[in-house]
C-alpha cells in the first residue's frame, strides 16, 4: 500500500479534538444503574442452560461464571457449558437441553444461525432461547431476545481513542473475528470510523478464528507490523485474541511502534493496560450483561416480554485504569447485582 | 508307484539340454530331464549345484540360454509358500484367484466345498476356519501344494514342482507331506521335488536326478542307488575322506559353553560341551533341532527346559553376558544384517564402546575398525560406507562375522557360516574362526551340509530328532558316517 511513503497527511488539532471528546466521554465511570427497575420475581425451580462460545476465550469464560452466580440468586438449576468454539458442541448442548426438559437456553457469543436447526427445535419444544453478546436476530424460529451492550458506542470509542492518541495520523491494522457476530461488529464500526477520518488509513485487515489466538496471531501481529513500519495502531475483535500475541510483539519491540486496542475489558487485558503493553480495551460490562440476560430469561419464563437492559460500556486505558480494582475485569463500576436482586426478590 | 491308468491325458515334463549361465557361474550345463505322469522325480545336489535355477527356468523366472522345456499345466510351490499367516485356511485357499460368486457375494459354501475336497485327501478338511498361523508348518506346506493344484483345476494339472518343500519341516511332520505327494502321483500327476534329505529320496521317489556343478551326473531309478552312492555322486571325485591337517587343539580344561538337558520345540534332552580353543561342527537336517541349537547356545533365546552354562554360570533371559558370545544367524537377510545401515555400522555395532574418545565415538577409530575387518575378511567392495544391502550375500556374511571377530568374543556360534560364500572366501573365514579359537574362544559351527566345513572342525557332533547322536573327534570319522548319522 501507500504505507511506504513517509509522511501520511496528519489531521489538524481541530478534528482530533472531537475524537478526544468522544473518547474521554467513554472513559468516564458508570455512575447509575441504567437497567430495568421492576419486573417479575424469580420464577421458582427453573432449569436453564448457559451455552458459552468457549471457556478458552475469557470473554466467554467470564459470563459463564456470572451466569452461575445469577442462577444462584434466582434459585435456578443453571448448567454452564464450554462450547469449545465448536458448532457440534453447540448443537449437542441444545439438543440435550431439549431432551433434558430444560426451560431455557442462553447463547453466549454463539451465533444462532450456526445452529439454526437446533434453535428452531428448542423453540418448537417451548424453550426460551436467550442470547447474550451474540448479536442474534430475534424471531419466531430464532432467539427469543438478545442482550447486547451498544455496538456503535464500543466501536466508536475504540476508534476515537486511537485517532486521538495518534494525532489523527492513524495507520491501523484490524484483526476481525467473523466467527463471533458481536466482536466482528465492534471492529467493523471502528474500521468505518477510521476510514471516515481523512488523515487516517486502514492499512490492512485480517480475519482469524478463536483457534488462532495462541498460535497464528502472535506471528501474524509481529510480521504485520514488520511489513509496514508506519503502522501505529492494531485493533482486534476481543481481548482473548491478543493475550498470547502481546508478549511476542513486546519482545519483537513492536509495542513501542504500535498501540494495540481490543474489546471486553477482561481481567488479563486490564493487567496488560496496567503494564502499558495494551493501549485500550472497550468493556461491555460482561457480568452485568449476563445478569441482564438472566433477567430477561426470568421475564419470559414468567410469560412477560423481554426488555432493553442498557448494558453499559467503558473505554479503559492508561488514563483511567487506576479507577478500576486490580485482579478482576471491568464490572460496570456499580453494584448491578443488588439492583437485579431487588427485582427478583420482590413479592 | 509307476504309471497308473488314470494318467492318460497327462503331459510329461520334457527338459532337453538346458544351459544357463550367470556371469561367471555356469549354473546349468545342458541338463536333460524327463518326468513321466504319475511318477515322483527327486532332484538332488549340493548347494549351488543348479537345482533352483532349473526350477526357475521351468517357471520362466529365468530363460534358458540353450535347450528346450516342454510341459503341460505345471503348478509350482516355491521355497516360500506365499501364504498369509493371519488369514484362515479357506481364505488363503481362495485369495488371489477369481472366487465363486453367488448373489454378488463370495459363495463361501461352494468355495468351502471346493477347498474341503481339495484338502480331504490330506485330512485337513476341518482346518478351513483356522488361522493359517495356527497350523503346523507341514500342514501349511500341504495347503500350499493343495492350493497350487487347485489353482490349475480348470486346465487339469499335469505336474507339480516343489523346491525343497520339506526343508522347513520338522522330521516327524514330513510323513504328512510325503503321503500328500503320493496321493497326487496316484492321480497321475508327475512330481518333481528338490530335497537335501536322501532318506526321503529313497522313501518317495521312483526316479532321481543328481546335479553337480550344474551338470546332470545321474538319472535313474532310485532303487539302483544307496544313500552313500548318492552322496558320492553329489560330492563327485572330491575325496569323501579328506585328510585332516593335524593340529594340536589347545583345549581349555573347563568348557566355555556347557549345555545340559536342553528341551525346546525341536530339541529333546540335548547335552553338549564346547571348550575354549576348539571348533565344534554340529550337523543335522532341518528339523533335527540344529536350527534351534544356535540361538539357544548363544544365549539369544532361553530354552523351555535345561540350561546353557556360559563360563560356569547359566545364561538367563536377556543376560548381558550373552553379548560376549558372537552369533551369526543362518537367516542372514532377516536376522543378520541391519538393513539400510552401512557396512561400517553393521560391523561396529558391538564395538562402539572401544571407539569412544573424549566421551564420544571417534569416527576415526570407528572407521579404522571397520576398515580393518573389511580388509581382513576381504569384503567386496572395500567400502565401509557402502550400504550393507548393496553387498552380495556372501559379503554380507563376511561383514556380520567381522562384527563378532571385532569384539574378541569368549565364544562364537555361527549357523551356516559359509552360506553363499565362494570357496576362497570360505577358506578366509574358517581360518579366521580358527585364529579366534586359538585365542581361547569356543567356536560352534552348525551346518546342514557337512562338506562345507567339516575339515575345519576339531570335533563333530550330529543331531537327529533333537539330541546328539554322534560326537567324535574329526579324525575319527569320515563324511559318510556323518551323513548316515544325519539321515
Amino acid at each position: 500500500a501507500c504505507s511506504e511513503d513517509p509522511g501520511a497527511a496528519s489531521g489538524s488539532a481541530a478534528d482530533t479534538a472531537e475524537y478526544q471528546a468522544v473518547a474521554e466521554k467513554a472513559m468516564e465511570p458508570v455512575t447509575e444503574f441504567t437497567g430495568p427497575t421492576e419486573g417479575p420475581a424469580a420464577q421458582p425451580g427453573k432449569k436453564v442452560v448457559f451455552l458459552t462460545c468457549g471457556f478458552e476465550a475469557e470473554g466467554c469464560n467470564l459470563p459463564g461464571k456470572a451466569a452461575a452466580e445469577a442462577g444462584k440468586a434466582l434459585g435456578w438449576d443453571v448448567k454452564v457449558v464450554d462450547g469449545k468454539f465448536d458448532p457440534r458442541v453447540y448443537s449437542r448442548t441444545i439438543q440435550e437441553a431439549i431432551d433434558d426438559g430444560a426451560d431455557g437456553i442462553i447463547l453466549d457469543a454463539v451465533s444462532a444461525s450456526s445452529v439454526k436447526g437446533q434453535v428452531k427445535a428448542a423453540r418448537d419444544a417451548g424453550l426460551v432461547v436467550g442470547s447474550y453478546d451474540s448479536l442474534n436476530e430475534v424471531s419466531e424460529s430464532g432467539v427469543s431476545y438478545d442482550v447486547q451492550a451498544s455496538i456503535e458506542d464500543q466501536g466508536k470509542a475504540m476508534a476515537a481513542y486511537m485517532i486521538w492518541k495518534t494525532e489523527g495520523a492513524t495507520n491501523a491494522y484490524v484483526l476481525n473475528s467473523p466467527e463471533f457476530n458481536a466482536p466482528y461488529a465492534w471492529t467493523e464500526v471502528a474500521q468505518k470510523e477510521i476510514e471516515s477520518c481523512s488523515s487516517c488509513e486502514l492499512v490492512d485487515s485480517q480475519d482469524f478464528t478463536a483457534g488462532d489466538a495462541a498460535t497464528r496471531l502472535p506471528q501474524l501481529a509481529v510480521t504485520a507490523a514488520r511489513k509496514d513500519p508506519n503502522l501505529n495502531v492494531m485493533i482486534a475483535s476481543y481481548d482473548a485474541a491478543m493475550l498470547a500475541a502481546i508478549p511476542s510483539m513486546k519482545q519483537a519491540g513492536i509495542l513501542d511502534q504500535v498501540k494495540v486496542g481490543t474489546f471486553n475489558g477482561v481481567s488479563p487485558a486490564l493487567d496488560l493496560i496496567r503494564k502499558g503493553d495494551l493501549a485500550a480495551s472497550v468493556g461491555g460490562a460482561m457480568e452485568w450483561g449476563t445478569w441482564a440476560a438472566m433477567d430477561n430469561m426470568n421475564r419470559m419464563l414468567a410469560g412477560e416480554e423481554a426488555v432493553e437492559q442498557n448494558v453499559p460500556i467503558r473505554l479503559i486505558t492508561a488514563e483511567n485504569i487506576d479507577s478500576i480494582e486490580p485482579g478482576g475485569p471491568w464490572t460496570g463500576d456499580i453494584d448491578y447485582a443488588a439492583e437485579y436482586q431487588k427485582i427478583w426478590d420482590a413479592k | 508307484m509307476s504309471q497308473v491308468p488314470s494318467t492318460a491325458g497327462h503331459q510329461p515334463i520334457r527338459i532337453e539340454n538346458v544351459s544357463k549361465t550367470f556371469g561367471a557361474t555356469k549354473a546349468l550345463r545342458n541338463v536333460s530331464l524327463e518326468v513321466a505322469p504319475g511318477s515322483i522325480h527327486a532332484l538332488i545336489g549340493l548347494n549351488g549345484s543348479g537345482k533352483s535355477t532349473l526350477v526357475k527356468v521351468m517357471d520362466g523366472y529365468h530363460s534358458a540360454d540353450e535347450g528346450t522345456v516342454s510341459m503341460g499345466e505345471v503348478a509350482f510351490v516355491h521355497q516360500d509358500l506365499g501364504l498369509l499367516p493371519s488369514l484362515t485356511v479357506l481364505e488363503n485357499f481362495v485369495i488371489g484367484r477369481p472366487m465363486a460368486m453367488r448373489f454378488g457375494q463370495i459363495d463361501w459354501k461352494t468355495e468351502a466345498k471346493r477347498a474341503r475336497n481339495a484338502l480331504a485327501e490330506f485330512g485337513l478338511e476341518n482346518t478351513l476356519d483356522q488361522q493359517l498361523a495356527s497350523l503346523s508348518l507341514a500342514n501349511q506346506a500341504i495347503i500350499a501344494c493343495a492350493r497350487a493344484l487347485d489353482r490349475s483345476r480348470g486346465a487339469a494339472i499335469d505336474s507339480l514342482v516343489l523346491d525343497e518343500p520339506t526343508s522347513a519341516l520338522p522330521s516327524h511332520e514330513i510323513g504328512l507331506l510325503a503321503d500328500a505327494m503320493k496321493a497326487f502321483a496316484a492321480r497321475g500327476v508327475g512330481i518333481v521335488f528338490i530335497t537335501h534329505r536322501l532318506q526321503e529320496v529313497k522313501d518317495l521317489a521312483d526316479t532321481v536326478t543328481v546335479l553337480r556343478n550344474g551338470e546332470s551326473v545321474f538319472t535313474g531309478p532310485t532303487a539302483d542307488l544307496a544313500i552313500p552312492d548318492m552322496v558320492q555322486l553329489m560330492v563327485g571325485d572330491a575325496p569323501v575322506h579328506t585328510t585332516h591337517e593335524a593340529r594340536a587343539a589347545v583345549r581349555t580344561a573347563e568348557p566355555v559353553l556347557s549345555i545340559r538337558a536342553l528341551h525346546d520345540d525341536t530339541i529333546d534332552d540335548l547335552d553338549l560341551d564346547i571348550y575354549g580353543g576348539e571348533i565344534v561342527g554340529a550337523f543335522g537336517m532341518v528339523g533335527s533341532g540344529l536350527e534351534r541349537l544356535g540361538a539357544l547356545a548363544a544365549g539369544r533365546e532361553i530354552a523351555r527346559a535345561g540350561t546353557v552354562e556360559f563360563e560356569g554360570r547359566p545364561l538367563t533371559a536377556g543376560d548381558a553376558r550373552a553379548r560376549r558370545i558372537g552369533y551369526v544367524p543362518s537367516d542372514r537377510p532377516r536376522r543378520g544384517v541391519l538393513p539400510g545401515l552401512t557396512v561400517r555400522e553393521n560391523i561396529s555395532v558391538r564395538s562402539l564402546a572401544r571407539t569412544i574418545r573424549a566421551g564420544g565415538i571417534s569416527r576415526r577409530r570407528e572407521q579404522a575398525l571397520a576398515a580393518r575387518w573389511t580388509e581382513e575378511l576381504s569384503v567386496k567392495p572395500r567400502d565401509p560406507e557402502a550400504s550393507i544391502l548393496t553387498l552380495s550375500g556372501g559379503n554380507q556374511q563376511k561383514a556380520i562375522l567381522g562384527r563378532w571377530l571385532a569384539i574378541e568374543p569368549a565364544a562364537i556360534v555361527a549357523e551356516e557360516p559359509t552360506q553363499g560364500i565362494d570357496v576362497w572366501a570360505k577358506q578366509d573365514i574358517l581360518r579366521r574362526l580358527r585364529m579366534t579359537a586359538e585365542t581361547g574362544a569356543g567356536v560352534l559351527l552348525t551346518a546342514v551340509e557337512p562338506e562345507e566345513i567339516i575339515d575345519f572342525c576339531d570335533r563333530v557332533v550330529v543331531l537327529r530328532a533333537g539330541r546328539v547322536v554322534l560326537d567324535a573327534r574329526r579324525e575319527d570319522v569320515v563324511i559318510t558316517d556323518i551323513l548316515s548319522a544325519m539321515h
Binding site: 458448532p87 439454526k116 467473523p178 | 499367516p85 485369495i95 463370495i106
Partner: protein
C-alpha cells in the same frame, strides 16, 4: 515391511506347534463380544441410575444421530488401515467437504444435487492423489496424508477466510440432515447404509479378502496373485470419498460450515478405528467393531454427562477405554501378531 513380516514370520513358527483344543476355542470366542457386553452393561447401568433422563427415546435418538457423522468418518479411516495405510487427512477432507457443502450453494449458487456430486468428487480426487503418491511412488502414507491434510486446511482457509459459513445453506440440504424417517433422523440411516455396505464388501466380496490379505503380508499377497496396488489404491479412494460424505452429512445436520471443525474429528475417528481391533474380529479392523466403538464411547460420555460428571471425564474415559481395549485385544490374540503396522 521387513520388520512387520519378520515378526509375523517368527510367530508362525512359534505358534505352529500349538494345537487348538475346543475349550481354548471358547475362551478365544468369548473376548470378541466383551465389548458388546460392556456396551449393554453401560446401557443398563445408566438406565438404572437415570431412568428418566438417560433411558428415554429422545436421549437415545440424540446419541444415535450426534455420532452418525463420526461413525462414517471412523469407517473411512478404517479402510486403508486394514492394509496398513494411514490416512491422516480424513478429518481435513471432512472439513473441506463440509465447507464446500455450505459454500457451493451459498456462494456459487449450485443446486443441491450438483453440490453433492461435486463434494464427493473432491473426496475421490484426494483419494486418487493419495493412491498415486502412496502406492505408485511408494511414499509413506503417514507423511503423504499429513501433507495433503495440511494443504487441504489451507484450501479451507482460502475458501472461507476463516469465517463460519451459514448464510444461504439451502433447506433442500439441511432437510437431508434434520428430517426424520420412522422417528429416526436421516443421518442415522446414512451411517447404517455405509456400515452395511462396508461390511458387505469387506466380508462378502473378494476386494475385502484382498484388502485383509495385503494387511497380513503385502509380499505374500502379491505372490498369491492379489493385485495389491489396485487394492490399496481403491481403499485410499474409498476412504477419502467416505470422509467427504461425512462432511456433507455434517453440514446438512448442523446447517453451517465451520473452517476449524476438523480438529474435533481427527483423534476420535482414529480412536474408534483402533478400538475395532478389540471387537468381533479380534486384532482386525472391522466395520461392525468401528460402529460399536463409536457408540460405546458415545453412550459412556452421554451417560456420564447426564450423571453430571464434569466434562474432563469424557476424554479421560475415551483414552482409558482405548488403551484398555487394545490391551485386551493383545491379551486375547497373544503376542503373535502385531496389531498395527504403517
Amino acid at each position: 515391511m521387513t520388520t512387520s513380516s519378520t515378526r509375523s514370520e517368527t510367530t508362525d513358527v512359534s505358534t505352529a506347534s500349538t494345537a487348538v483344543p475346543p475349550a481354548h476355542r471358547l475362551r478365544a470366542i468369548l473376548p470378541r463380544f466383551g465389548m458388546v457386553g460392556l456396551f449393554i452393561l453401560l446401557l443398563v447401568v445408566f438406565s438404572i441410575l437415570r431412568p428418566v433422563s438417560f433411558a428415554n427415546s429422545a436421549n437415545l435418538r440424540t446419541i444415535l444421530v450426534e455420532s452418525a457423522v463420526l461413525t462414517i468418518l471412523a469407517l473411512a479411516v478404517m479402510i486403508p488401515l486394514i492394509a496398513n495405510d494411514f490416512d491422516l487427512s480424513v478429518a481435513s477432507v471432512l472439513g473441506l467437504a463440509s465447507i464446500l457443502a455450505a459454500g457451493l450453494p451459498a456462494k456459487q449458487g449450485l443446486p443441491v444435487p450438483v453440490v453433492i456430486v461435486a463434494v464427493l468428487a473432491v473426496g475421490a480426487v484426494v483419494g486418487l492423489l493419495h493412491a498415486l503418491l502412496i502406492v505408485k511412488f511408494d511414499l509413506p502414507s503417514v507423511v503423504v496424508s499429513l501433507g495433503t491434510s495440511t494443504v487441504l486446511g489451507g484450501i479451507v482457509l482460502w475458501y472461507t477466510g476463516g469465517a463460519v459459513l451459514y448464510e444461504g445453506v439451502p433447506a433442500a440440504l439441511t432437510n437431508l440432515g434434520s428430517k426424520s424417517f420412522l422417528g429416526l433422523p436421516l443421518p442415522v440411516y446414512y451411517m447404517i447404509v455405509v456400515a452395511a455396505v462396508l461390511w458387505f464388501v469387506l466380508e462378502r466380496r473378494p476386494w475385502g479378502r484382498n484388502l485383509y490379505a495385503v494387511g497380513s503380508s503385502e509380499v505374500a499377497a502379491r505372490l498369491a496373485g492379489v493385485n495389491t496396488a489396485r487394492t490399496r489404491a481403491t481403499a485410499l479412494i474409498a476412504c477419502s470419498t467416505l470422509a467427504a460424505l461425512a462432511g456433507l452429512v455434517l453440514t446438512a445436520r448442523v446447517g453451517s460450515g465451520n473452517p476449524s471443525i476438523s480438529n474435533a474429528y481427527f483423534l476420535p475417528a482414529f480412536a474408534a478405528a483402533f478400538l475395532s481391533l478389540a471387537a468381533f474380529r479380534l486384532g482386525f479392523f472391522n466395520p461392525l467393531g468401528v460402529v460399536l466403538s463409536v457408540y460405546l464411547l458415545a453412550v459412556g460420555v452421554n451417560g456420564l454427562t447426564i450423571l453430571g460428571v464434569p466434562s474432563w471425564v469424557e476424554p479421560v474415559f475415551n483414552g482409558t477405554a482405548l488403551i484398555v481395549a487394545i490391551g485386551l485385544a493383545r491379551l486375547s490374540i497373544g503376542k503373535s501378531r502385531r496389531l498395527v503396522g504403517a
